[in-house]
């Protein structure tokens, strides 16, 4: 007999002016791996936040573990046995890993924190999730992937009945992802229920038994995962089939060199990096997190220091000591951290677009609003940014639209070389396809694109050429005709002396 641990009946949630969830009824079985899918804005986050106790539902009823469930605070959710690993991490960065892990109930002795016990318990948890660091390491010294593991370890240590993971693999490497799935399988075996949200369709089969698809705040269907194909799932998510999504459109030939980097070194300890991007070319950059991809892009752009190396833009040697120099010479950087480093979240769409070149919309230091409006409106239309007005704050945009604003601001500046660092992270399928299309168009117009991504299928779909990073240097290069997932992955791993498990 089906024995649900969580059942939602006609749950609805509205925000001022928006219905975020409408009449959602859902049952999740005990010990089940349930996958929640939907495009950005489909209502997934709202659903999770309801369960996490961040805000209450407006309509409907939720029952958890046989009792009515109406959490008012995240603490209520913990007490009930629901644990959420959010996509955006919230860590006490100036405290140790152990303190972070056990923060909600630090072992005590005579009213003081018992650090020996804290570290001992933390070490055990860390071992379980495969986090290789001392329990006394400060969290601020860890990478994003390791922080993610801490969140997961936290979920483990508090006897949770339901663990919700919101895009846990967004910043993990394939190796870490496998480790995560191993942990999740173990949890399931112990009878813990898992609600899993991801944009990466090919990995959901690893943990999922059933899948629920949301679209525009409504439930489309809940189905057993077995027998479902990816095109079918995509069809449910977007309400249309996405044929031609991977149709490579980059076959326009443009000659000439957009960017050449020769002998770039970030500091005395890092090896030299040389690379080249042709006009009209999209060069994919593969490699593990921490292999030096982001760091190299930032050094080329002048965002971080470098000690040696020559940079040529369209064949001309340029000096780049700061982002200001880089931008002047036609480079642009779309950072990995869109919200933190790319956008002015509290400012309008138009203000975000024109910030790269205010001279174009001003004379003698005084802004010309009409010029700004028409420039911004033009780009909003061209890139099909969905917004009621160019005065809308970028904070209110979905991830895909935010990324388009970032692209728009660099188009406004007239950049010739695009350094894109994980430009599709956290963006839904439909918006991804639009971003690919855009990049192809931009390349065909004679720009050079360096495309860093941790999703290999994505790189294979859009690049003319893929270069592979490991340990801070370029370890391989593969032309489009020879693209092969296996070969590229093994290059990325080889340097680290690791064999892929399959």
């Amino acid at each position: 007999m089906f024995n649900p641990i969580l059942s939602m009946k006609s749950v609805g949630k509205r925000f001022p002016g928006v219905v975020a969830l409408r009449d959602v009824s859902l049952e999740i079985g005990r010990g089940e791996g349930h996958v929640l899918l939907g495009e950005n804005g489909a209502g997934k986050s709202t659903l999770i936040n309801l369960l996490a106790g961040l805000y209450p539902a407006d309509e409907g009823e939720i029952a958890f573990d046989g009792a009515p469930y109406r959490p008012r605070t995240p603490t209520d959710a913990y007490r009930a046995g629901i644990r959420v690993v959010h996509q955006e991490l919230s860590m006490l960065s100036q405290m140790t890993v152990a303190e972070n892990l056990l923060f909600e109930s630090l072992p005590q002795r005579h009213g003081l924190v018992n650090y020996r016990e804290t570290n001992r318990r933390a070490a055990a948890l860390m071992e379980e999730v495969g986090l290789a660091a001392a329990p006394t390491t400060l969290v601020s010294r860890l990478g994003v992937a390791q922080m993610q593991l801490i969140e997961i370890a936290k979920a483990l240590c508090y006897e949770s009945k339901l663990v919700i993971l919101d895009e846990p693999t967004a910043s993990l490497t394939s190796k870490e992802v496998e480790r995560l799935f191993e942990i999740l399988r173990r949890l399931k075996a112990k009878g813990v229920t898992i609600l899993y949200i991801s944009h990466r369709l090919h990995e959901i089969a690893e943990v999922g038994d059933r899948v629920t698809v949301l679209r525009d705040g409504q439930l489309v269907a809940t189905r057993p995962l077995a027998g479902l194909t990816i095109p079918e799932i995509v069809h449910m998510m977007v309400g249309r089939s996405m044929e031609g999504e991977d149709a490579f459109r980059g076959d326009v030939v443009v000659s000439g060199e957009a960017l050449r980097v020769k002998g770039l070194r970030r500091n005395a300890k890092t090896p030299e990096v040389s690379l080249r991007v042709g006009k009209g070319e999209i060069v994919g950059v593969a490699g593990l997190v921490g292999s030096g991809r982001t760091e190299t892009a930032r050094a080329i752009f002048g965002a971080d220091p470098k000690i040696a190396g020559e940079i040529f833009v369209e064949g001309v040697r340029v000096e780049i000591a700061s982002p200001k120099d880089a931008v002047r010479h036609g480079l642009c950087l779309m950072t990995e951290d869109r919200k933190g480093q790319g956008l002015l979240l509290g400012m309008s769409c138009a203000e975000n677009i024109t910030i790269t070149d205010l001279r174009k919309i001003s004379s003698r230091g005084i802004l010309e609003r009409d010029a700004e409006r028409s420039a911004a409106t033009g780009l909003v239309d061209e890139l099909r940014i969905k917004t009621p007005s160019i005065d809308q704050l970028v904070r209110n945009f979905s991830g895909g639209n935010q990324q388009k604003v970032v692209i728009a601001k660099w188009l406004f500046r007239g950049s010739k070389v695009l350094l894109c660092d994980e430009p599709t992270r956290g963006i839904d399928v439909g918006a991804k396809a639009e971003i690919y299309d855009l990049l192809w168009t931009l390349a065909a117009e004679g720009r050079g694109v360096l495309f860093i991504s941790s999703e290999l299928p994505e790189l294979i779909a859009i690049s003319h050429r893929i270069i592979v990073f490991a340990k801070g240097r370029v370890v391989g290069e593969v032309a489009r005709a020879e693209f092969d997932q296996h070969r590229i992955l093994s290059m990325a791993y080889e340097e680290y002396g690791l064999e892929r498990s399959h």
Binding site: G17, F301, G340, L343, L367, Q392, N396
Partner: protein, 345 residues
């Protein structure tokens, strides 16, 4: 999640413009007008309750009294918008009053030379102090709170050294007369100076490239840097402007009180900060306006005067004013939530 829903209806150009207009109206009315409504309510309250409050003489007095704080607070607004703070303005003002008074009391100079020279001197010394603040903050990445706390002491000491620790009187008569001038029998000259400073500040923040950068830096400095700009220049400029307004405020001080004094301006920085914060400018930068600051300065002064006329003792005043400052920020938090709800419609 919201935008997918609402895009359909307003995709057309006309819909867009209407939406934009609404957005503007709402944003303006909520941010500045919210504070203005507060001011009107407070004024009405005192009009009906405090004797002699609703008299022309009293309003004239208020206009005179807000002048110095308004000028100081306008520079402070710019610094706070970038996410910084300037604690030094009070003692920079003191130093500038001493410098200005020394120049004007120099018997060798005719009035038409000494007064403009004093103005230039005040503005120059003020700007220099501000520039040093900004330079140290940006060069060594030290919190502005600490740097300007240092400058507070340095400028105060410099004022005492320059003045030989005494007040300087005997300013030229035409200068003193100008300070007492009441234009059209309604607006005191120094109030008009303050309004002039506010208007210039408002124009700079709202209509210039520089102003756009000030807001952008306060919103996300790293994003501005990665967009190919150097935030440093603008932040140093913001501190320099704050010093400049302290210099102008010193001239206003001389016009009003007719003495240069090394102990002038003690605690003025806190009043200026209070005006900025009550006026709705966010302490973490990026949000707020100079018009709000003007209204904030008015609220502070109306409260002070009103409570006096009300018969509340000097000891009660700070309690009320302190409460209002905190209350303003609390209301601000609610206003932000409300604004976001409206914006995300």
């Amino acid at each position: 999640m919201r935008n997918t829903d609402l895009s359909e209806a307003t995709e057309t150009g006309r819909g867009r413009r209407t939406a934009a207009l609404w957005n503007d109206v709402l944003r303006f009315s909520m941010r500045e007008a919210g504070v203005a409504v507060g001011l009107v309510l407070i004024v009405l309250f005192f009009c009906f309750t405090a004797p002699y409050f609703a008299t022309p003489e009293n309003f004239l007095k208020i206009f005179v009294q807000i002048a110095i704080n308004t000028v100081l607070a306008s520079g402070m607004t710019i610094v706070i918008l970038t996410g910084g703070i300037d604690l030094s303005v009070g003692s920079v003002l003191a130093l500038c009053t001493v410098v200005g008074a020394l120049i004007m009391t120099d018997q060798a100079l005719p009035v038409y030379v000494s007064v403009p020279l004093a103005l230039v001197g005040c503005m120059g010394v003020g700007s220099l102090c501000g520039f040093v603040n900004g330079f140290v903050v940006e060069q060594w990445k030290i919190p502005s709170f600490i740097v300007t706390l240092g400058m507070l002491n340095v400028a105060s000491g410099a004022a005492r050294v320059t003045s030989n620790n005494s007040t300087i009187t005997g300013l030229p008569q035409p200068f003193v007369d100008f300070g007492n001038l009441i234009v059209f029998g309604v607006f005191p000259s120094i109030f008009l100076i303050a309004v002039g400073v506010i208007l210039i500040g408002w124009f700079i923040l709202r209509f210039t490239v520089f102003g756009r950068f000030i807001y952008a830096i306060g919103t996300n400095e790293e994003a501005v840097r990665l967009s190919g700009h150097n935030p440093r220049t603008y932040k140093v400029a913001a501190f320099t402007i704050s010093g400049l307004t302290a210099g102008i405020a010193a001239m206003v001080y001389l016009l009003r009180l007719n003495v240069g004094s090394p102990i002038a301006g003690a605690g003025y920085e806190l009043n200026a900060i209070a005006a900025v914060i009550i006026g709705g400018t966010s302490f973490s930068g990026g949000k707020g306006s100079i018009i709000g600051t003007l209204v904030g300065a008015c609220i502070l002064q109306v409260l002070t005067t009103g409570l006096q006329l009300f018969g509340a003792g000097d000891n009660v005043k700070p309690i009320v004013i302190g409460t209002v400052i905190v209350l303003a920020v609390v209301l601000d938090a609610y206003r932000d939530r409300f604004l976001r709800a409206i914006e995300s419609r």
